[in-house]
Symmetry: C2
Subunit: 186 residues, 2 copies
């Protein structure tokens, strides 16, 4: 592990924090690298020693966040509702970070990234009990997109209802309607 120098970690942490702040205060496009390095309190040129451009930093933050989320949720793929509850609890650890990520979803290609990861999981879990005449591609896209949509809503501070309840709602509003047997609804 060649990346242990405290200065490197310190600089990158300051950059990520400043990036999240400025992205929520202003906007991704309007934030300049001068704004960013000033807020992070590092030299302007130092930025390029770590990332090639603004988007590269965004992607680094995204990949780190995805790793964190996957490892906290991966073992629960056979219990969708619990998995969702756990996911929302995890989002609560760093809400601003995830708010930033959904806000910049089209720049970081968040949806495509999560589709790649989530589709296999979804197919394995739902394919055999999928309601007839629902194209599997549409179903997978609907689940992933609708969950991200509710996450974006929920991350607004005034909307942060109980994670357990969010799990139940996602199950009844998104998951169950895809299944063959409507009697299973809660």
């Amino acid at each position: 592990m060649p990346k242990t120098d405290r200065r490197i970690n310190r600089t990158r942490r300051q950059l990520a924090d400043a990036f999240i702040q400025l992205c929520l205060e202003r906007d991704y496009e309007q934030m300049t690298l001068r704004d960013l390095t000033e807020r992070a309190d590092i030299g302007y040129a130092t930025f390029f020693r770590h990332y090639s451009d603004k988007e590269s930093l965004l992607n680094a933050i995204l990949e780190e966040s995805i790793s964190t989320l996957i490892s906290s949720v991966n073992a629960l793929s056979d219990q969708p509702e619990l998995m969702m509850t756990t996911l929302f609890k995890q989002l609560l650890e760093q809400p601003e970070r995830y708010q930033m990520l959904v806000k910049t979803r089209h720049i970081s290609h968040l949806l495509e990234r999560v589709m790649t990861i989530g589709s296999a999981m979804f197919i394995e879990q739902f394919a055999h009990q999928l309601k007839a005449n629902i194209p599997p591609d549409l179903a997978a896209r609907h689940v992933i997109g609708a969950v991200i949509n509710l996450i974006e809503w929920w991350l607004e501070p005034s909307n942060r209802i109980d994670p357990k309840r969010m799990g139940e709602l996602i199950n009844s509003l998104i998951m169950q309607p895809l299944k063959d047997n409507p009697a299973l609804e809660r």
Copy 2:
């Protein structure tokens, strides 16, 4: 109506067409105004005689598109499924335009714009039959966001299934699960 000069309409049409093309070929952020005016085959400085910046042009395209969609769908607010079918038929008139709009949703604030328009419509239509324990804010956001999500999926050329079927799917996957009586499901 002071805006009838043919040259003005011609210039704006060329700019909008070029904008849609470049936004789908490359990306919104990477597209420069030089690229745009060159593709549109107009002088660089001419752009600023019509729009103050790139985002201003995007908003003009968005507002025009929203007007078109509203007027084609407005009368059907009491028949959600037919409204959706009609909506998808309308999207088919200019698919690239709407693809561009969903791709740039965070810059144009598409979701907020549609929420403003759609929430009232949704409340009136669904509030009295909403399943217990579902926050109305969440319900409205879920409908709007999930429909836009499926529109984005459907606009991919290989996913353009029959509009009527899309109306049915949206009804059974998004609308009905919000309602109190599960027996109404198709």
